[in-house]
Every structure is written in C-alpha cells, then in structure tokens.
Subunit: 308 residues, 2 copies
Amino acid sequence: MSKIKIVEVGPRDGLQNEKEQFSPAARVQLIEKLVKAGLKNIEAGAFVHPKWVPQMQGSDKVLRALHKRQDEGKISKSVRFPVLVPNARGLEDALKVKPKEISIFGASSEGFSKRNINCTIAESFQRFEKVMEIAKANKLKVRGYLSTVFGCPYDGRVPEKRVLKLIEKMLKLGVYEVSLGDTIGVATPRQVSRLLEEVVTQFGAEGIAMHFHDTRGTALANVLESLEYGITIFDSSVASLGGCPYATGASGNLATEDLVYMLEGMRIKTGVKVEELIKIRAWLEKRILRRLPSHVGQAGLPLPGTLN
Amino acid sequence: MSKIKIVEVGPRDGLQNEKEQFSPAARVQLIEKLVKAGLKNIEAGAFVHPKWVPQMQGSDKVLRALHKRQDEGKISKSVRFPVLVPNARGLEDALKVKPKEISIFGASSEGFSKRNINCTIAESFQRFEKVMEIAKANKLKVRGYLSTVFGCPYDGRVPEKRVLKLIEKMLKLGVYEVSLGDTIGVATPRQVSRLLEEVVTQFGAEGIAMHFHDTRGTALANVLESLEYGITIFDSSVASLGGCPYATGASGNLATEDLVYMLEGMRIKTGVKVEELIKIRAWLEKRILRRLPSHVGQAGLPLPGTLN
C-alpha cells in the first residue's frame, strides 16, 4: 500500500448537513484551501432544488468559478470537482456549467431511501439510468454513492446480499467508482471484513471507495481493516463537517485530518498536508457555530519527529 | 481471541484529571455502577498527597466501603480494585485499608517523568523498588504503568529501545502486568505494530496491557492492531473521563463504551454491558461540566439487530 485517493466531501456532503449556509464565494474559498492542502478530488456542490437543500444553492457559480481558476492555471486541471445530481433534471442544470464528473446517490435500505431521497430503491435506479444516459452522451465520469451499507437508522439491519446486488447494479450502470457508506457509523471491523471479503472477491478492490462515519469512534479502525482488503479510496470531510443528523453532538463524517494523520503516521502517502487541514478547521470554526469534532483538528499535531 | 480483560481507569486516572471533585461516597456510587455494568477490574483510588491530587482525597474511605460491600456479598470478591501508590509512604497509607492490588506509575521519557511525578526515570525505579519490597511482604499484586511509550509532550520522540528496557525493568521488579500508555494519543497502528513486534517477542503478550488515548482518533485502530499481536488487556475510562490536559476539548482516555462497542461488534466477549455504560455517562454528565467526548455515549446504540 503506497498511495491513497482521498475524496473530500466537506464542501458538499459536509456543508449540506450543517445549519449555517455558506455563500458560493465562501464555498469557492473553502475549496481553494482544500486544493492548497493537496486534495485532488473535492465534491464541489449539488444540483438539487434549493427548497430541499438551500445550502447547495449557487453550485453553478461555484463550479464556474473553479473552472475559471483552472483555465487561468491557478488550480491544476488534474483536480476533480464532482457534483451531485439527484436526477435527469438536476443533470440538465449541471450541464450548463460543464462538470467533468458527477455523482449519484442511492441507499441500501428502503427506509433511508424513502426518507432521504424520497423514492424506493427501485425507483432510484430508474432515475440513475436516465442520468447515466445523459452522462454518457456528455462523456462525464460518474461516481456512485451507496449509503447505509452496514445499517439503517430506520430499518436496522441491512442484508449483505442486498448490498452486493446494489453494488453490481451500480457498476453495471457504468459508474467508475462505488462509495460504500456507513451512513450512521455503526460498523466495526468485523462488519467491514465480512462485506469486503465478498465485495473484493466479486468486484475487485480498485473501484470501491469506503465512506466511514466516526459516530461510534470506529471510523479509523474500519479504515485500517479496509486497507487489509486492498481498498485505496476513502471519503472524508474536513473538520468532520456534516455532523450526524441522528444524534446531537455526535461525530458524523470521518474528519479528513484524522484520516490523513493516521495514514501518514503509517507511512502511507496521501499527498495531503495535515497542517493545512488544521488551519482550514480554524477558519471553519469562525463560520460554523457547533463544535467541529475532528480529533486532530482539536488536538493539533505532536512535536515534530515524535512518531518513529 | 475470545475473551478480553478491560481495566476501567475512570474512577482514578479519569477523575484525577477532571476539575470537579467527587466525594468518596460519589466515587463509591460510580464504582458500584461500573461493577453492575460488568467490569471486573476497576481502579478505585490513589494514595497521593491531597495537596497534589485533591480529587483522590478519601481513597481510604472508598476502598473501605468497597471491601465492606464485598464482605456483605453485594459485590463479588472476584472484582479487583487496584489503587495507585506513588511511593513507600503512599503504600504505608494504603495498607491501613488492606488493598489486594496496587499500581505503580512511571514514564518512558524524562520530560514527562519530571513534570508528572517530579523525579527522573532512574529515581522513579528506586521508589518502585521500595514499594515492591513492602508489597511483597504484604502479598499484594502490583500492576505497572509505563506512560508516554509512543511519544512525550515535552521530549517528542521516545526511542523504542528505551521502552523495551523499561518494560524489562518493570517486569523484573515483579509486577504481574505492564500497561503501556499512549499518554498523549499520538500513535498510529504502525507505531503500535513496531513496538508490539518487539514486546511480544521479548516478553510475550500475556502480561502486557495497552492504554490508548483517543486524542487523535486512532485509539480503536490501535486496539485493533494490538489484537493482531495477541494483546488481550486494555485500559479504558468510562465516558472518556480524564480529558486531555494538553489540549482543551480534545479527547483523552479511550472511552470504555467505545472499546466495548467495537469489541462486542466484533464478537469478542468483554462481559461488559454497553447500555449500562451509556447510563453511567448520563449520570456523570450531571456532575462533570465539560462535554464528555465518548462517541457511543453521545450517539447511543443503533437499532437492535443492526450489526450482522
């Protein structure tokens, strides 16, 4: 294991679940800071109705500003800015600002699908098909999110067989990567190993990303277990942005600085500077009223040279 | 791996590092709740000068009350209540209430030794020798803490060779168990594996306990790595009591409920009921003004049957 891909989800998945709204300009500022920290894959926005997700309003402006900076050479063209689209309508909106990559979002449990994206799992895949058709015609790369793979806040247990079928369906749609989400942060390394044993055997490790939440403190243990199965792609959110909608005060998304701290401490290269992430957290703390629970963000780094 | 020994350090190591002082009666109440939760090894107090550690004042009363409950059959006699003694003087005080087990506490770095126990490492071992002599004469079991094994807040790096020598010295003193502390929570699984590779080869896994702090979010990943080396003894603190004296708001001791949640989720038996620990945290929250950062304590348990 020498190189890891981190998908930074703070500016979309993170901010979407925070009360405070960031202007498009502030989101561009955040994303520029993340680029400076070394992140190469940064979720930049979502093309959803502002009535449902006001936090993502003006995602067109964000993407336009980022592309401009890429054209001016201020941001490398190799940095990717995927945007979430919920359906064909959202994608048509997104196309106006020429994204190079989009994401689609589904669930592994009916309860979460209904409450989160307001349709059944089967219906969500019908939407995805339409989205994929347009995406292919426009030569867009598509990333697939599959949430609640280890458990659902409404349905409880999620059968592994169902998760495996849904991964297969997503891959057949033509996504280049499936991100498996422990949306409510319930998994321990046993669940991770049970699922990945099957996933990696059936689909290989290359196109599989893991998206852990630190709700019950197990996120980095689950990352460690995933590494054993050859997984090299992890989603995380700077400063642990995003919280956890199901428990006040509890941690949500795995913090990017915690992930980078552990991986770099293990001599696994991420290309990301944890000092820069700590600065970004300080910047965010002035703008987000709740306490941002990332561990490294709060504790800071040990004295230089501490780790052997 | 089927059975784990958890050493609950909340009532001593934990409370000692909290501002709020608990009366001896309140500490007995806490310990009774921990017994009810299934914990069998609970640090019950310290015989240190109240000028330095006012929180541990009345540890004699605590131990007397617990022994009385054991005599009355209200607490099983198999439950152990080690108390910390800093030196021969402390042990003489402790002997008045007839402890069955004591702990001694040393550091792997001069900086931490000087600032924390006010003597050099060499001097601390001279003290330990005197303590061990009296302990042997009184047939007490002795547990040894070795702190800052992965890094020191003052000296930074701590050479592995020194840690190995100090473990050897502690074992030669006659302690039945050495607890290796990541006192400032810097280790990642790489450091754990590097050290345990040597430790287990030289001394075996049986008498080695790991004491992790979750300061940088890596505690459970480090537990997972330790399991790989056959370690079966872990220290933890209910509700993550103890904080981290070096960073406000940052997590300190690994929370017992987080440890139990992960281990039980992995089908590794602890004998401890996480639901009871969550109740204890709620009880503590009324008495401790800072936010108690244990993850499971804040998030609660998922729906029954969620984990496969």
